[in-house]
């Protein structure tokens, strides 16, 4: 049953959404708030920005992937707790150290706050995990709804092996 619900989640058509609309859709089903998701989206886009010839977090569907990760029974519970706590922690950090909301900062301001957040051991761990799952979305198999069209593979000249997973052999269905 669980596998079915995860499969439906990935097939739910949420990929058509982006930015604020996606944050609202995710907030409705994950227990994190709209602002939390908007912060995650902004952080992912900062850590892995979009460029014309090189896809970034948003093209990789990284936000949706993180929402899936939070439901994935194969991700340790402790790690999920850390992932969930991060946005609020960063929001507080931004108010304390930057005097404003993270989402109101420009790119340079975000860089400054994230670098100072990195000095906090919890902040550093969260950033590292967010970056790790963002790279999973960037370079994972498109069958998971990430890395559409294998665009990041083409960018890096990387070739997948034989055989690639299909819908029925995704790891959570094995």
């Amino acid at each position: 049953m669980k596998a079915w619900s995860r499969r439906r989640f990935l097939a739910a058509g949420a990929f058509a959404l982006s930015g604020p609309a996606l944050a609202e859709a995710l907030a409705a089903r994950t227990g994190l708030g709209v602002t939390d998701w908007r912060i995650v989206d902004a952080v992912q886009a900062h850590l892995l920005p979009s460029e014309p010839d090189a896809p970034g977090a948003r093209e990789a569907n990284a936000l949706l992937w993180l929402a899936f990760v939070l439901e994935d029974p194969k991700v340790p519970a402790e790690l999920k707790t850390l992932l969930r706590a991060g946005p609020a922690r960063l929001a507080r950090h931004s108010r304390t150290h930057g005097g404003t909301e993270f989402l109101h900062l420009d790119e340079a301001g975000r860089e400054r706050i994230l670098r100072s957040f990195e000095e906090d051991p919890e902040g550093r761990r969260w950033l590292q995990e967010i970056l790790g799952f963002t790279l999973e979305a960037l370079l994972g198999d498109p069958v998971y709804g990430v890395n559409p069209g294998g665009r990041a593979w083409k960018w890096l000249g990387w070739r997948p092996g034989f055989r690639r997973p299909d819908a029925e052999t995704r790891y959570f269905l094995l």
Binding site: P49, L131, G157, T169
Partner: protein, 556 residues
């Protein structure tokens, strides 16, 4: 099949499958109990999320943790419960971890069978000679080349072991363009590189297809064609075809039951629904990989065995072995080479055994050395990317990270070396039952103490340094070599030594328990010393040797 079986085998990997095949071929009724699922070729995909980022092919760590004790810098012991991951499980499925091996196959050498006699004792290590010699095992190595399928090409080198056949039955798998460059660089340094034998079929054999060439993707992923010589593809599928072998996946053996005379009469196991069963058989074979084999014996107390099955000597779980050594890497920027190294698929397949015995006055008296394998960094691109996110103490992100990914993934290749030396058997490397932590089914979990002998580091460092010279001569950038005392969790042996003296060994020279006449242990547990190569070929060969002995002597 129902009723009593001639033989019940616990586990289905490289130590189990040769016994299942030979006994079934001889018409014996064989039942294999495997705790994991039964995946086939179709289920195995080159999926980096599955193999390398999530616990897909190992048990759920929250349900089946282990306890790992690691030596701290201050000499004390740290204790870690692996309920969030990081356990020592490998390949929890039919065919076991052989599904996920890279298949770098080397034989032991004659010297490995009597290290103590050759080099004398080593303070702080429990080095023991084997009760058999290379000549006893050689025919079985040769047989594995044919039965499992080992591809390669014999090249003479100073430490090459004797063979009963002139060459491998299968030609080598296709080679990456860098292999020729390695040969030239190594020969320039007076080294003797040779093609690494692989348990991979270059072309179809029976129902198995040939290799589809995924380069450095074999390790950690199951083979989608059957070319890799896993216990499942190479042996169990044939055992099933005899009609005399049955495999029950999702069958978790919780203990072996022995009577007042000390004979085993049944295996108790839980099926996928948690229902308890008892399975009767005349003969029992345990092959669950070293750590879990020791755990199962320790869990199987009986009227004659208050301290665990076959453990009257207190030796079960002792002298656990991993593989010692070092490792290293070099980056090869494509633009720096005249040869086009952009080749995705063929293997590097090069090894060096010039220092299998180290005879170098700079390091002291002659001593045992080891093997160096030159290999692709694992092909998983997420893994490659994750290695780029750290610089010094900080994280790399933004466009700087993306340029780094381009340089390290798009514009060059990472080549690795693995140096294998003996993991010396020591008192502080052993398996016991943890007194506190239990698994989901209420059974005490394995507690693994992972102490190592400093000699592992010395030899590992020596070998890695030699490999470092080669990587530099090859034109590698960012050459990095190191030795490590950390146990490679996928290379396990020991824990139930074989030998002639029941006071200091668990098994006799035929891997039958000294104390239990109808119990054999046929995984890597029997090894008193590990040699300086990956274990799988030796495990296969020994299991065929033991199965033949069972049949010849009427043990079954």
């Amino acid at each position: 099949m129902n009723g009593e079986y001639d033989c019940c085998i616990v586990g289905s990997g490289a130590g189990a499958a040769p016994v299942a095949l030979r006994l079934a071929q001889a018409g014996r009724r064989v039942l294999v109990l495997e705790k994991g699922p039964w995946w086939r070729e179709d289920d195995f995909r080159k999926d980096e999320l599955a193999c390398c980022q999530r616990p897909t092919y190992v048990p759920d760590p929250a349900l089946e943790p282990q306890v790992v004790e690691e030596e701290r810098d201050d000499g004390g012991w740290g204790r870690r419960v692996t309920d969030q991951g990081g356990g020592f499980w490998n390949g929890n499925c039919v065919g076991g971890s052989s599904n996920f091996m890279s298949g770098f196959f080397h034989r032991l050498k004659p010297v490995d069978f009597h290290l103590r006699e050759t080099f004398g004792p080593i303070a702080g290590a429990n080095v023991a000679d084997w009760p058999i010699s290379y000549a006893d095992l050689e025919p079985w190595y040769a047989l594995v080349e044919r039965e499992v399928g080992v591809s390669g090409r014999v090249v003479a080198h100073p430490h090459a072991e004797p063979r009963s056949t002139p060459d491998f039955p299968f030609p080598p798998t296709a080679e990456h363009p860098v292999s020729a460059l390695i040969d030239a660089a190594a020969e320039g340094l007076g080294m003797h590189p040779f093609p690494t034998p692989r348990a991979i079929l270059p072309h179809p054999l029976g129902k198995r297809a040939g290799c589809r060439y995924n380069g450095g993707f074999c390790g950690a992923t199951g083979c989608s064609t059957g070319a890799k010589g896993s216990a499942r593809a190479a042996l169990l599928d044939r055992a099933l075809a005899t009609g005399h072998c049955e495999i029950r996946p999702h069958s978790r053996v919780t203990r072996l039951l022995s009577d007042a005379r000390g004979r085993l009469y049944a295996a108790e196991y839980l099926d996928a629904t948690g229902e308890r069963h008892r399975l009767r058989a005349r003969l029992f074979v345990v092959a669950c990989q070293a750590i879990e084999t020791a755990r199962l014996l320790l869990l199987s107390r009986g009227p004659r065995f208050p301290h665990g099955l076959a453990n009257g000597s207190g030796q079960v779980g002792r002298n656990l072995l991993f593989a010692g050594g070092g490792a290293g890497s070099a980056f090869l920027p494509y633009a720096a080479f005249e040869t086009d190294l952009r080749s995705f698929g063929p293997f590097i397949n090069r090894a060096l055994q010039d220092w299998y015995v180290i005879d170098d006055p700079a390091v002291g008296p002659r001593r045992k050395g080891g093997t160096i394998d030159l290999i692709h960094a694992h092909h998983g691109v997420i893994g490659h990317a994750l290695r780029q996110i750290r610089k010094g103490r900080g994280l790399v992100w933004g466009k700087a990270l993306k340029r780094r990914l381009e340089r390290r993934i798009r514009d060059g290749m990472l080549i690795k070396i693995e140096a294998f030396c003996d993991w010396l058997p020591v008192d502080d490397c052993r398996v016991t039952l943890d007194p506190r932590v239990k698994d989901h089914w209420g059974l005490p979990v394995a507690r693994v103490r992972t102490g190592f002998h400093v000699r592992n580091l010395e030899v590992g460092w020596y070998l890695a340094s030699q490999a470092g010279r080669l990587l530099k001569a090859l034109g590698g950038r960012d050459v990095l070599v190191f030795a490590s005392g950390a146990p490679p969790t996928n290379l396990q042996a020991g824990g139930c030594r074989f030998g002639t003296d029941p006071a200091v060994s668990v098994l006799d020279p035929w891997c039958r328990a000294h104390e239990v006449e109808n119990l054999y242990v046929t995984d890597g547990s029997f090894m008193p010393t590990g040699g300086s190569v990956p274990y799988t070929w030796t495990i296969y060969a020994n299991a065929f040797r033991v199965a033949d002995h069972m049949l010849r002597t009427g043990a079954i």
